[in-house]
């Protein structure tokens, strides 16, 4: 699970949309109403901005349910922000990732996020 988070972090920093897309299940859905295509669009916004992305994350909790489901709660922040349009905020956010595997790779099937002391949704 920690390796999955590290791989995702490296893919974000490398702006590798295809790699990240392969880490998200086609059935991805979250309470905000996003599907996989919406999440890929969000990644696109991150990657279209100029400058490098440096993601700093800390895994707070990992829960594995059976052999095929897991949740990861992590705190993540961005570094290396610029001053252009759609720049990224330095404030850290908390994420709760839901993952599923059918035997090979873990895939993201849902996520909630929010401010550190706020509600995750």
């Amino acid at each position: 699970m920690r390796q999955w988070v590290q791989d995702a972090e490296a893919a974000v920093e490398g702006k590798e949309r295809r790699v990240l897309g392969n880490m998200i299940a086609d059935s991805y859905a979250d309470v905000r109403g996003n599907d996989k295509a919406d999440i890929e669009q969000m990644l696109r916004v991150w990657f279209l901005r100029s400058g490098n992305i440096v993601l700093v994350s800390r895994i707070d909790e990992v829960t594995v349910m059976g052999d095929s489901a897991a949740t990861v709660v992590l705190t993540a922040g961005m570094a290396g922000m610029g001053e252009g349009v759609f720049d990224l905020d330095a404030d850290a956010l908390r994420f709760r990732l839901e993952l599923e595997t059918s035997g090979d790779d873990w895939l993201l099937i849902g996520a909630r996020w929010g401010k550190l002391k706020g509600e995750l949704r």
């Binding site: 279209l48 901005r49 720049d87 956010l93």
Partner: protein, 159 residues
């Protein structure tokens, strides 16, 4: 095989030009355009009145904008008319347009101001405005996106 000096310089120049074109062909991310489309008197009461501010938003970018919060300040004829922050939940599609409106309640004291009275008797048909604000988008780590515009709007009296 060793290339003549001229040819090797030419190849280096071509490679540099190709790299430069790759760097500049990157899609430029642009701020959305937000304009005030109208100010309408909705309700006049003893204690005050309600105005409805209409806005149009245009997203020039190749990705949709999920807007979750709007902060704005509207100046009419160079004077602050209204300002505030409102939660929202709409998406402006990629390279698309959208509309939203915000209701503004003014108490009696504000209502008797010169600006407010402009809308009562239909004294003027148009008025100049300046709009500033930010759109907060529902994208992790994305900072609120600023917007600013100026123009002229038609004054619409109470229906």
């Amino acid at each position: 095989m060793k290339l003549p000096k001229f040819e090797s310089r030419y190849i280096i120049l071509c490679a540099a030009a190709l790299l430069a074109s790759c760097a500049t062909s990157r899609i430029a991310v642009q701020p959305p355009e937000v304009v005030l489309t109208g100010v309408q008197v909705r309700d006049i009461g003893i204690s005050g009145q309600t105005f409805l501010l209409g806005f149009a938003v245009s997203n020039p970018n190749p990705f949709p904008l999920p807007v979750k919060n709007i902060r704005y300040t509207v100046m009419l004829d160079g004077q602050k008319f209204a300002g505030g922050e409102t939660q929202s939940d709409f998406v402006v599609s990629a390279r698309g347009d959208g509309e939203f409106s915000i209701g503004v309640e003014m108490d009696l004291l504000q209502s008797v101001s010169q600006l407010s009275t402009l809308f009562r008797g239909g004294l003027r048909d148009t008025i100049e405005y300046d709009l500033d604000g930010t759109l907060a988008v529902d994208i992790p780590f994305a900072r609120p996106v600023p917007f600013s515009s100026s123009g002229v709007i038609k004054v619409r009296p109470q229906p």
